[in-house]
């Protein structure tokens, strides 16, 4: 049931809808990169599910013409897992903000990585809680003042890449919303990767984060070049720990691990037909005689 792929029209574009983001927000660029990556990856929009939580970032699937599970704040990853376990044949993307994925949903982040289901995890990291109007997020920089952190953020920022790598994530990357093409390319690699892929995307919040602007990101980041060995985990961790010069691109990839759904032998949920083996069932019953 492939839809015709035209050169110009992107089937993931939505028939015009009002969008809830502020003008200039980095989310628009991430959305564009995502739709571009999906289209160029040849994914059928009807076989794609984008799962999100709650927040500005989490509105993304509202603006993509594809299946959507816009769930609870913090709970994108378990819902995405559920989709994958029931329908391993579908392409599953879990997308949300830094607060959603690393704050409320931090535990799921840890354990989703351990599971290694074939899910592409995209985190819009604007280092702030956007939708709730500017409180600190787990990735906010120390010292940033907010209406709650009136004396400035005191907590050590959460380092998603280092944590993902410590947990053995097989694909770990970082992108920057300002760089459309590179971000699209990283998304394409993540979508193509079999297993859990984590992409943290720097995203300017032009309203609530006056520290981490487009300019700040471009001044503090650099792209890993071909000299970087993406199979070297120790090296990747070292890079991820550098909080001065922030590396962009794929930090680490490790091919070939079996996915959780493969190990479980999950198969697409039967819908129409009855698939129960009556004799097996009788055997179970008989075991209670």
């Amino acid at each position: 049931m492939k839809e015709g792929k035209k050169q110009t029209a992107n089937p993931f574009d939505m028939p015009q809808k009002k969008m809830g983001w502020c003008p200039g927000c980095g989310n628009y660029r991430i959305l564009d990169a995502l739709k571009g990556a999906l289209h160029e990856s040849g994914i059928d929009r009807r076989e794609l599910v984008i799962v999100s939580g709650i927040g500005q970032a989490a509105k993304t699937p509202q603006y993509v013409n594809a299946n959507m599970f816009n769930g609870l704040h913090g709970r994108a990853l378990p819902a995405a897992l559920g989709v994958k376990l029931a329908r391993p044949d579908l392409v599953v993307v879990a997308e949300s903000g830094d607060g959603c994925m690393y704050g409320e949903g931090g535990n799921h982040f840890l354990h989703a990585i351990r599971r290694n289901a074939d899910i592409t995890v995209i985190v819009h990291n604007n280092m702030v809680y956007g939708l709730t109007k500017g409180q600190a997020s787990p990735t906010s920089m120390v010292g940033m003042t907010t209406p709650v952190q009136v004396e400035g953020v005191m907590l050590e920022p959460f380092n998603p890449l280092a944590v993902a790598l410590s947990l053995g994530a097989p694909f770990v990357a970082r992108a920057s919303a300002g760089d459309g093409d590179q971000t699209k390319d990283i998304f394409k690699q993540a979508l193509a990767f079999k297993g859990v892929s984590v992409v943290d995307v720097f995203q300017p919040c032009v309203v609530f984060n006056k520290l981490n602007t487009y300019k700040w990101f471009s001044e503090h980041t650099f792209y890993l070049d071909s000299s970087h060995d993406v199979t070297d985990r120790t090296q990747a961790i070292r890079i991820s720990l550098d909080s001065e010069r922030l590396a962009l691109g794929v930090l680490y990839r490790h091919e070939g691990r079996e996915t959780y759904e493969e190990l479980l032998g999950a198969e697409p949920a039967a819908l129409g037909e009855q698939r129960l083996a009556d004799d097996e069932l009788q055997e179970v019953i008989n075991s209670f005689r």
């Binding site: 709970r75 897992l81 329908r87």
Partner: protein, 567 residues
Amino acid sequence: MLHQDDISLVFGGAAGQGIQTIADALVTVLKNNGYAVFSCQEFMSRVRGGSNSSQIRITSERRNAYVRKIDLLFVLDAEALDHLRWRIGEGTTIFAEHDQLGEEDRGRVIDTPLKEFAQKAGHPVYTNSVAVGAVLGVLGLGLEEFNDYLSREFESKGEEVVGRNHDAARLGYEFGVKSAREHHIDITLPTAAEDPASLLLDGTSGLGIGALMAGCGVVSSYPMSPSTGLLTFLAARGRRFGIVVDQAEDEIAAVNAALGASYAGARSLVTTSGGGFALMSEGVSLAGVTELPLVIHIGQRPGPATGLPTRTEQGDLNLALHAGHGDFCRVLLAPGTPAQAIKLMQRAFDIAESYQVPVFVLTDQFMLDSVSMLGDEEIVRLPLQRRVVKTGSDYERYRFTDDGISPRGVPGYGEGIVKVDSHEHDESGHLTENFTIRRKMVGKRLQRLGSLEQEAVPPERIGSDDAAALVVCWGSTRGVVEEALDILQDDNIAALHFSQVFPLHTGLGGMLEGKQVIVLENNATGQFADLLHAVTGRQADRRILKATGEPFAVEEVVEALKGGVAS
């Protein structure tokens, strides 16, 4: 000592001493001998040590209740004797190794050198077989069924092990026969009128079989007593039945994964207990707003908080009724027997899918761990009808319909796309703040309550239509109420057992009219009595409540209902 009519055997010992193994073997052997049997367990929240006990009843009719009285008591240590002392009566014959006991108890107890015999058979590990043999000897039954049982059970371990177990059983048996003679233990067992091919099923396995029959596709859960058994039941059979079993990192993950799976088309299930379920409250609300089918099994145990982890209570009714913020529909079922568990579990999946609502199955530790007898004819298999539609390209998930229920599409099945949303949404599933759509969506979600009421499982009447008093009970207390009524033989008392506790069946008010209403439940405040009042306007005339962590005993229900019906 004379033991007749229904017989209650109790085995007491520390966790890890094998009393559960003894009880499991014995109940099967007795069943295979044609007796009506029932067994239940009570145990402490620890892995080794403490004092636990298993009761096996041999009854003239099939029963499903705990009795306090003990005819034959086998204790493996002094602590167990202390633990059970309050249940020991005139008519209790006690067996134990004397050297386990204090001086003062020895006179009262028949010295039973289990370990010595086990050692004789080759190793202390054979103690359980000695014990079962001894019981069979005391009861005056044959050893054949047990020998067969042992042969089957230890087949894989080789002939030597089987042989030693047989030796152990024989040593115990001979001891039992001798003891009965020497101590004048005179037991008259009820007639062995049951089909030895009957099933012995615990509540957990009943739920598990029901879930298999219902075509459950994904179960995601986090371990918590007493609900974990359903998870392990399904884990053991997952591959064969195409069920994906995921042990979640926490209960929040479990419920959200189950909803993700439901969205994608699988029939999905979570199993938990009160504390774990409390964490799922927000997820229940998500099921409500997204209109996703979900079955939630709550194995109740005494709260608040950690409470008594391995004990029993019916204290989570209010929570299940109201968990989740905002107004939407739900259904609560509460099987009272393993047979009902099989049937209602299927019904739970069916209602969840037909009405696109969360359906709760409420059980408790007593019900889950109790083993009762049933015939194949009691196993009801409901038609398994999936209700997912193939989407057209203009599909909208929340299309307004006459009955408020929209055809349910799933992703990757048809030409359309499927959008579900935790925000208030329009028909296409996109978030909206339009007040008119909001009003209609609220109405849509609540509208189905009417049909759900009409389709509710009506309460089951036990006893005469004309009785002046009605004992109202729900879930696991069915057996104890039924047995108490049988004992009382009072035409003026009947019972209503609810295996669906919400919504209540429409015709209900009439059934209570003119009756004295006595609500019996295993919690501290009478949560079901409150619900009954809220729905029917009828206050219970009397509440019989218990929240100690123990199930009701037949004797105490008889006692409570005796004095007649006036409160």
